[in-house]
Amino acid sequence: MSTIAEYYFGLPLLLRMVLQGTAVILVLFPAAAACSMAERKISAWIQGRPGPNRTVAPFLAWIPGISILRNLGLFQLAADGGKFTFKEDPVPGHVNKFYFILAPIVSMIPALTTVAVVPLGAYISNGQLLPIILADVDVGLLAVFAVSSLGVYSIILAGWASNSKYPFLGSVRASAQLVSYELSMTLSVLPVFLWINAPGEHGTLNLFDVVQKQSGTGFAWDSVWFAAYMPVSAFIFLVALFAETNRQPFDMPESEADLVGGFHTEYGAFKWSLFFVAEYCHMIVGSGVFCLLFLGGWNPLPGLPLALLADWLGIAGVPLLTGLLGIGIFAGKVASFIFFFMWVRWTLPRFRYDQVMNIGWKKLLPLAIANLVFYALAIAVIQK
């Protein structure tokens, strides 16, 4: 065990970084694929039908008890993946070929890059809580916003390169929507950072520090999660998150009732599945950011921080186990949040396009500004 660790830390820094990054992507990518399966199962559950439950590889069918996995739709996931990979991938004749192929590739870049500055958990080493994160930079959340704002290019390119009307309309809608809701989203998180950057402390936008401020023990001021202190911020962020990830009720870009398939009408097979996976990656990372900002990150309960739980379990001295515990709790929160995403999708009807714009500019943005002013004043009074 220790020899592996020694060997690993003997490797050059650049190689280690590449390995860590690859490891995270290797987890995130299948997680996004699993989300698509979960979506099908949850939609089936909400609509009172069994969902995919018949797929099974023939050479596995004789194993007793496999029907449980089959009923969960686990093999459907593999079948879907296989289909998307091996299906013929036609490129329509009227498209702008280079950009048509570029668009789905571009869609993956921001989706997989944002995760670098999001802490995935925390571990305890020598009594100190440290983040598990690829790039521990000061700008933290700003970097997430910056990189995820690049996601709009894949949609613009896809719609434009498809060279037909519905995809173009879809991409124009998508860009307008993404740009509009980015504003409210950014404004909604400012109160959180005003609060944690109290005068005299070192200024930061790091998400790890945000969680540290929600890690109080017992009935302390800082043991309450920010969702309770700043419900309006959390709500605005949540709504904007739905819009930014193009999820129902904000899935204007692909609203199939009026735009066939929106920006990805002309896409099929593997290229289409890349868009799909990118959307789920955005959803996972967005949920993660929400949990870190407003739901206490890797702390299991308000007033019960990770360090205390590790103490109770008697594993506080083992960094590996505390790390796994932290990641597990955080992943659990993210998973339940993704369930919430899907619950909303299969419950609420889609907005009309003018309603989306009205909500964004006339309701959400003024609310976000009012919220910011209110908290700026309140925080100034409290922290004086």
Binding site: L14, Y99, Y153, V172, G203
Partner: protein
């Protein structure tokens, strides 16, 4: 073995210059805009190598994330084909060469006689300029310039609204 930073610097520098050339030389306006996007990402990478993470992030956030998206938007709305550009004329080539020459002379002169201004903020002296250092300077020493620039932008925005609105009967201006 060379410092990985040097290697990364060379990579980003070549990448940035190549993309900048791409912006100018591409016939297709969409391709030019995308080259500009990559060029800005390269500049952001150079900033990150200088430990100026805030500048790097703002570069991506503001320019790459919003401004170039608007460029693309307008190109596509005006011309779905992506706008083919005419080949360069003689005047353009002369003007371009002149501009490059002037710029090179300017940069060389500055690099030769490089002495930092006396009242330049001492951010570089610290190892990692924190976000808070930027914020403090912007809200104390540079408050007036920030306000003036903000005001200019506001005027520009109002100007666009006034100019782009169709005035039938000139009633709605008042």
């Amino acid at each position: 073995m060379t410092d990985p930073r040097d290697l990364l610097f060379s990579l980003f520098a070549v990448f940035t210059v190549a993309c900048a050339l791409g912006v100018v030389l591409n016939r297709n306006a969409v391709a030019s805009a995308l080259s500009l996007l990559l060029c800005l990402v390269g500049v952001a990478g150079l900033f990150a190598l200088l430990d100026a993470f805030l500048l790097a992030v703002l570069m991506v956030f503001v320019y790459a994330g919003a401004v170039v998206a608007l460029f693309l938007f307008i190109i596509m709305l005006l011309d779905v084909k992506g706008g083919e550009r005419k080949p360069f004329g003689a005047a353009t080539v002369v003007a371009g060469t002149l501009a490059v020459g002037l710029l090179t002379t300017g940069v060389l002169t500055v690099a030769r006689a490089a002495t930092p201004a006396k009242d330049a903020p001492q951010l570089v002296a610290q190892n990692f300029p924190k976000l808070k250092d930027y914020a403090e300077l912007l809200f104390t020493q540079y408050l007036l310039p920030v306000q003036v620039v903000g005001f200019l932008l506001l005027i520009a925005m109002l100007g666009v609204i006034v100019l782009s609105k169709r005035h039938e009967g000139l009633e709605d201006i008042k």
